[in-house]
Every structure is written in structure tokens, then in C-alpha cells.
Amino acid sequence: MTAIDLSIRAAAAEIALIGVTKSYDAKNTIIPPIDVTLRPGEFTVVLGPSGCGKSTLLQMIAGLERVSSGKIVIGGREVQDLEPKHRGCAMVFQNYALYPHMTVAENMAYSLKVAGVSKAERAERVGTVAKMLGLADYLTRKPSQLSGGQRQRVAIGRAIIREPGVLLFDEPLSNLDAQLRHDMRVELAELHRRIGATSVFVTHDQVEAMTLADRILILNKGHIEQFDTPKAIYHHPASVFVAKFIGSPPMNILEVEGDGSVLRLADGQVVANYSAKGKFQLGIRPEDIAVNEGGSIKTEIRYREDLGSHEILETKIADQNLRIAMPFGVEIDTTQTLSLSFPQARLHLFDGETGRAIANAFGDAHSAPVKEYQ
């Protein structure tokens, strides 16, 4: 990237949600009370399955949906009752939502025009943003004459041209093909570094979340499962939900029972030492399972997927699915019984009922206490 004048630079604002709820009627609560603070300039990815309320959350910050109760504070100002235009937010929509009757330049300049910015200054700002996004040659085109990636850039340009303190992204990459999605991800990260606005990015794609986020906010049925850095979320999932949601293939979760000294599967096989009694859920990532290193857990391969860089083995133990990721170059005889062991340091233990992680279950550095979200 050549050095470009940083004339588009936002004064990043802190976003605080204080007891924010959303419900359409007494029965349908979309968002139970949420309390969360996004630091100025931070890139937060809101991740969750469809219907978890992540888009609603974003729209409430933007002002496109009213909050049912609670406060939204942006840059020290309570904004929950303000019109979108008074909140200092800009948004990039999933389907771009470009104005089809306006040219690229008009699309990007529209917010400035509404705000009464002079024609000369509009042209200048459009020029700067277009240069930044590689759109300088397309300014007179209509959105219908652009490719998906170019439209996405125009949508981003339209959002950043006002130098907003807060940038909101509503699944902006989901309409692009895989290659373009990767390229745009890189560009977005670069753009965020340069503009520095507090960014909230909603997606259901864990790869986008892991690669873009400073911190990931994982939402499940409207409540926050975990809010932490991608690394912490991967290595210390706060709940079974998070563990299953992050990682490809996701973490294996096994139902186990503790008898006071060891954890056993339903068929009696011992998988780990643990000193408490009761039902637990044991998590281990597919890549953390040790194969044919003298382990005591026996299983057969049911199916194998060769992905080039690594191989996924599908097995079952005690009637529960178990996926194993084998690094490239390790030869496995698929007809033979496998012997597995679960390295204690790589295990995650969750409460059998609540699904919340039990911190320090195996008393080592790896399973460090899970940080609570702020």
C-alpha cells in the first residue's frame, strides 16, 4: 500500500449500552438487558447465529430501531432517543443499499449534501475517499454498472466520508464470493487501522470475527455469552455455546460423569482425572487430541476428509461424535483401531447443566480463569 494522506480520520467515540432491552411484546423479548462498553477506536465483532439479536442490537445503536428500555451512550452523549443523523454513526448494509438512481460520487456525497456541505468541499472529500478505496475511475457510474466488490466499496465510502465516530457494519461481506470476501476483509482491517473509528461489525461468520476483531462479542438469544479477544475466546471459551461456535471444525463436546476421582464416558472409559462428582461436559479441540501415542481410549474411524493441509477423522466414542484433526504428513491406517488420549492441559470443562466453563478445572496455566466481559 502506498502512503496516502490520512485526511479521513475519525474522532473515535466510546459506545456504552446500559441495560438495553428490546422486545416487541410481552412474550417476544429479542434482547434481555445488555450492559457492555465498546472502547473508543475498538473493532468489535458481534457474532452469533441467525436470530440471536445481533442485527437488532446494531440497529438500536444506529437509531433505526428504538430501544424498549435502557440507555445508549455514544461519546458521552445519551442517544437512545435521538434520530439516526444525530448519533454520529454511519452504517454499511448487507445488500449495500446504494441509491440506484445516483452515481457513485452522488451516493458517497449524499450525506454531505443533506448536511449542507458546499459543492466544492463535497467533490474534494469524494475525491479523497474514492482514492482511498480505489474508486476514482468509477465516480460517474451508476451502482448497477459496478461489480459486487466495487458496490461494497462505495457503501463503505458512503459511510466513512462523514468521518463518523462510529462505523456500523451489518454483515457487509455476506453477499460476496469467497475470494472477494477475503480481500475485503484485509481491506477493512487496513481501513480500520487508518480511520480509527469505533467499529461494530455484525456477522455470523467466525472467520470474519477471528480475523477482524479486537474483541468478539458472542451473542446467544440476545444475551452475551462472552466478550473477549479472539485469542481468549478460542482458547478459553466461557461456555459450551462459544466452544461449539468458534473453531473449524468446532470443539468436541462429550458428556462425562465425575465419580470423585476421574471423569468417565457413558461406557465407563476414563478420559481425565477430576476430583468432583456430577455431570459435566468435556471439551477438546479436534487438533488437540493425541492419536496413537499410547492413549487408552479406543475408537474406529468412520469417515475421513482430506483437506490437503490437514485431515479430519470422524469417530465415535461412547456413542458421541468425535472429530480429530490430523496434521499433514501423519499416516494413519484407517482400518485399525485408534488409541486416543486427551492431554489434560488441552481439556475444557463445562458445567453439565448451565454449560458455563469451570475455570482452572485441571489446574494448569492453559485453563486460566476466563475473563468476564466488561
Binding site: E83, N95, P100, Y110
Partner: protein, 296 residues
Amino acid sequence: MSSESSLFSHRWLPALLLAPLMLLIVLFFYVPVFQAFYWSFFLEQPFGGGSEFVGLQNFQRVLSDPEFWGATGRTVVFMLTASSLAVVVPLMLAIAADRKIGMSYPARNILVWPKGIAGASIGVVFAFIFNPFVGLMAPLNSLFPGLWNPGIDGTDAFITLVSAHVWSGIPFNFVILLAGLRSIPPTMYQAAAMDGAGPWRRIFDVQLPLIMPQLFLTFVLEFTESITSVFALIDTITGGGPGGSTTLLVYKIYVDGFRGFDLSGASTQTAILMVFVLLLAACQFFFIGRRINYER
């Protein structure tokens, strides 16, 4: 084409299915049109008994008649005012009904009902509504005697006519325009709201540009239709009066032809009216239609 022809493998079946409609169109549209043009070059005897080719004499006679120009002028005024209002009023209603405001759902339904009423019935109802003694304006008349009387004042009669026409045009134009508005993706409004555009600004910057195809369609249809469909209203409300002030071309043709038995003159005026309507539609397509952005 290939998929269509594979659907109808019979050669004569499509023709047979089309025949009744074609017959009706030919019998009641193309034959009369042809006849009108044919007669406009002949002098027809009012009580039968052969006709005589007169060349362009009919046209000379009609075009030098000040009454023809008067009726034409009134037709143009009516076309401009009534058609514009008949698009603008439904447009306002459609924009309102498109919003999630109270009663917008029942309104979407109710506003279509007048479609089921015949032009003549509308005329009778409006003649009553605007009656100076028992109608809507009666209380005003008792305060300011002589303020409103379509029976005497030509302008009042014209306003009555325009009102009735606009009202009868609401359902169709409302449906077309509302359909156009409904097809605008909601994120477009959200994007405009984020860009700082308020509701009024969004109407002019987003909604109207995006329903240009529908607006154009309603305008073309209104301009061409208002000229002819007004007949039923004139016949029932004003009868062309007072003093010919509401005698539009289409009504004058009827009066000349069927009351005055000037068949050639009426045919000539019909031919002129038809050419005028055709030219009008052609101009609209040529000058406006090509600039409309149909992209979404």
C-alpha cells in the same frame, strides 16, 4: 420462443383462443377508427342516402370553426389540470399509505373501491355533492350567496368535473404507485436515514426517483385517458354547460354527431382527436420515457 411453442404444439389452438378477443378489438376499435378516418374525407347525408368525397373540405370546415378551438382549448386545460391532480392526489395517498401509520392497512383497501363504480354513476353522485342548494357547498352559499353554482358559473362546473375525474382516477393510480413504493427495499430508507435525510427529504431524494417508471406510466395513461373518459362525467354532471364551458372535444364530437347529425364533422374531429392523442403519447415516450431509469 422455443419453450413457448413447446407449450402450445398446436398451430391453430393459440389462434382459436385469441380469436374472440381479436374479433372484439377489430369490431369495436379498429373498424370504427378506420370508419372515422374514412368518413372525415366524405360528406355524409344526415338521413342516409349516399356520401360524396370532398377531400379536405371537412378539415377546413372544422379547423376554421371557433367552437372547435374552444373545445380543444378546454380539453387541453382539463387534460393538464385533471390528469396532474389525478396522479398527484393518489401519489400523496400512496406515500401516506406506504408508511406504517395508523389506518394505513384499511386505507390501502378502501382507496381501491371507487374502481368498481361506473363513470356515469360517479357523475350522478358528484352532481349531487356539488349541488349548490343541497350539496357540500350549500352552507357556504348561504353565507356568501352566489359563491358556488356550477349550473351558472362555468368555472364552478369545470371544477366539479375535475374533482369527479380526480376521484374516479384514485384507485388505479393509487394501486400502481403504491406497488412502486412497496417495492423499494426498506434498507434504502434506512440508508437515507443514516445519511441524515428526514422523511420529507427521503420522499424527494429516494422515493420519487425510484418510482419514476410507475409515475411515468400513470401520467401517460392519465393524459391519454382523461381526454376520452371524461365523457360520462360531462354527460351526467353538466351536459356540456353552462354555456358550453364544459364542452370538451370528446363531448362536442358526440353532440355534433348524434344531436346535430353532422356525421362528417364529428368523424373529422374524431380523427383529429385520435392523432392528437397518439402524438401526445409519442411525445411523452420520446422526451421523458427514454430518460427514465428502470434499474433497481
